[in-house]
């Protein structure tokens, strides 16, 4: 496969994202406020629990997990749904459909540049700060490589979910509500706002098989080597789950899009 087109889109995306330096700074600042809130909330929870370990996690574990989840969220967050609904309303989507590339591929690679930038500017600094402050609580080793792989898979799963919701918006014409619902579900069920360990047993068993977990919980679990996830027997099921959802959601997304794009081509934008 010739990657010239794809890398050109990544390159442009990087340049575009770098134009918004201030935006990145504001994001970091907002995170800080959010994390102060998270700190006091969980401090209170742990104080009232009366034990140092709740659901197998110490206070430090929980904080590291949530801080990194926030950093990961900043980097994985995509605006496919917003952007697409805006370009449908303005009719600009026609120009995107008239690119000599598959629309889905084009969209994915258009966003890739901003992922690269945000990963470097938000995730890596957060990671380094957490590493220094906790003084060795994050294991450093081969898990970093596994984490990168898991993050790429998470990115694909996340993109596929975005594309499916964006496709739904072709029908509803209103985006706001659907997107909020999607974001809430993802944030809750993926472990980005509450570690999955805190969920009731039954509920957690179900959530563990859903695609949302593949976005935040799996990469973080691998990174933090929780429950001894450095053995292949522990890693394989997690990568397996991510891969399975990648395939399922991509295929479903493509079929759904191909079916729905006819709505544009048959009945106009």
């Amino acid at each position: 496969m010739n990657m010239r087109r794809h890398l050109a889109l990544t390159r442009a995306g990087i340049m575009e994202s770098l134009q918004y330096r201030l935006g990145t700074a504001v994001t970091l600042f907002a995170n800080l406020i959010y994390l102060v809130l998270v700190y006091f909330l969980w401090r209170a929870i742990y104080d009232s629990a009366g034990t140092d370990v709740v659901n197998g996690m110490t206070f430090t574990d929980t904080m590291i997990y949530l801080i990194l989840a926030t950093a990961l969220f900043n980097f994985l967050e995509m605006f496919v749904v917003w952007d697409m609904s805006r370009s449908i309303q303005s009719g600009k989507i026609i120009l995107d459909l008239l690119k000599p590339m598959n629309f889905r591929t084009y969209t994915f690679w258009s966003y890739s540049g901003s992922h690269v930038v945000l990963f470097t500017l938000t995730f890596i600094p957060t990671f380094i700060v957490v590493m220094i402050v906790t003084n060795g609580a994050i294991p450093m080793g081969i898990n970093l490589l596994y984490f990168i792989i898991a993050t790429v898979l998470a990115l694909i799963v996340n993109f596929s979910m975005e594309m499916i919701v964006a496709t739904i918006c072709l029908y509803t014409e209103s985006t706001w509500g659907i997107n909020i619902v999607k974001e809430t579900i993802v944030l809750l069920l993926s472990g980005a706002s509450i570690p999955l360990a805190f969920f009731p047993e039954m509920f957690r068993k179900v959530v563990e098989f859903l695609p949302f977990r593949a976005v935040y919980d799996i990469p973080l679990t691998i990174l933090l080597k929780k429950n001894g996830t450095d053995t292949l027997e522990e890693l394989l099921p997690m990568f397996g789950l991510q891969l399975a959802w990648c395939v399922i959601l991509t295929v479903a997304g493509i079929l759904f899009w191909n079916h729905s794009v006819r709505k544009i081509t048959v009945n106009g934008g």
Binding site: N2, A12, P100, M101, T265
Partner: protein, 347 residues
């Protein structure tokens, strides 16, 4: 150079793809929900299955040869954009056939996109926050243009317009004229066989319009690119198009040379008379119906005439007449429709 393009044109002419675009009996219907007014109506619409069909394009057949610049005209809402969207492949015709560069556009949209370029009025395909040159590089890679061809195209651009001042400017900082110019350049960058320009000069000042016209003309001459131009500016038409196609209410009502146009709907001339008080009176005269001399004599009996001018009718006037005629025939049709209904009611 000229000779070379001519020969290339001839070579292409000999193969079976002589026409850039062929449309046969193309129709396009849209199904839209019948919306009701008021709060009650809006709630009713939620559950409504009450659709009505609107025919945007009715039985249009068209052949466009390679290297032509076609003016595609029509009043607002006539179905121009719909036709263009069908030619580009983003809309599927309800019936009829379209071939663009030998492809069925809506079936092979991505493949078709490689060989067409588009400029849609005020929407830009450029990367908003990046300098123009970056958009060009990106488009070069997306369309897989060889480096050499790309450099040659930039050279050609330089010879036609002064692109240096805009090349390194971020698109969001450009004036509307500069952006339109950039968008046109971007559409031609991969040397497409056909370029669609949907109202490219809308909102531009006179000098920018002239610049853009000469650019389009230059690119068409150098690259033998087929250009489909929709516009409401008759200056564009006069400057660029030899042939024009007019549609109204989705139907093709004219398809011929621009020269032919002036005599086609009667032989019109504009008579300008200067009165004693130095005011000019202007009148369009259909010479098949009345004689210019008669009009002048009649006027002269009424009042003193200081000066007389007789002009060929402008394209603008002819087009205006055509639109008005078709609007008038629509109205009379509607009136007779109402009359019929009334009759029915009384029966």
């Amino acid at each position: 150079m000229k000779k070379h393009t001519f020969r290339k044109h001839k070579l292409e002419g000999t193969d079976k793809m002589e026409n850039a675009i062929v449309m046969k009996n193309v129709c396009k219907d849209f199904k839209i929900l019948n919306r009701h007014e008021g709060l009650k109506g809006s709630i009713r619409d939620l559950f409504s299955r009450d659709y009505k069909t609107i025919s945007a394009v009715k039985d249009v057949s068209l052949e466009i040869a390679r290297g032509e610049i076609i003016g595609y005209l029509g009043p607002n809402g006539a179905g121009k954009s719909t036709t263009i969207k069908m030619m580009t492949g983003v809309l599927e015709p309800t019936s009829g056939e379209i071939m663009v560069n030998g492809l069925v556009p809506y079936k092979e949209r991505t493949k078709n996109s490689e060989r067409i370029g588009v400029v849609f009025g005020q929407r830009s395909q450029l990367w908003w926050s990046l300098p123009l040159i970056e958009s060009f590089r990106l488009l070069r890679d997306i369309y897989m243009v060889p480096k050499k061809d790309y450099e040659e195209m930039l050279e050609l651009y330089r010879s036609l317009v002064d692109i240096e001042p805009i090349l390194h400017k971020p698109v969001r900082q450009m004036s509307l004229g500069q952006r339109t110019l950039s968008d046109i350049l971007a559409a031609f960058l991969h040397n497409p066989a056909i370029v669609f320009l949907d109202e490219p000069t809308i909102g531009l000042d006179v000098s920018m319009k002239a610049k853009i016209r000469s650019l389009i003309q230059g690119l068409n001459a150098e690259k033998n690119t087929t250009v489909i131009l929709t516009t409401h500016d008759m200056g564009d038409v006069d400057a660029l198009c030899k042939r024009i196609v007019i549609i109204d209410e989705g139907k093709k009502i004219y398809d011929n040379d621009i020269e032919h146009l002036k005599s086609y709907f009667g032989s019109y001339r504009t008579l300008r008379i200067r009165h004693a008080d130095d005011t000019w009176e202007e009148r369009v005269i259909d010479e098949t119906k009345e004689d210019v001399m008669d009009v002048i004599m009649k006027k002269q009996k009424e009042q003193k005439i200081k000066d007389i001018q007789l002009q060929e009718i402008s394209t603008e006037e002819v087009i205006k007449k055509i639109y008005e005629n078709s609007a008038a025939s629509k109205e009379s049709a509607a009136v007779s429709d109402v009359a019929e209904k009334k009759e029915e009611a009384t029966v």
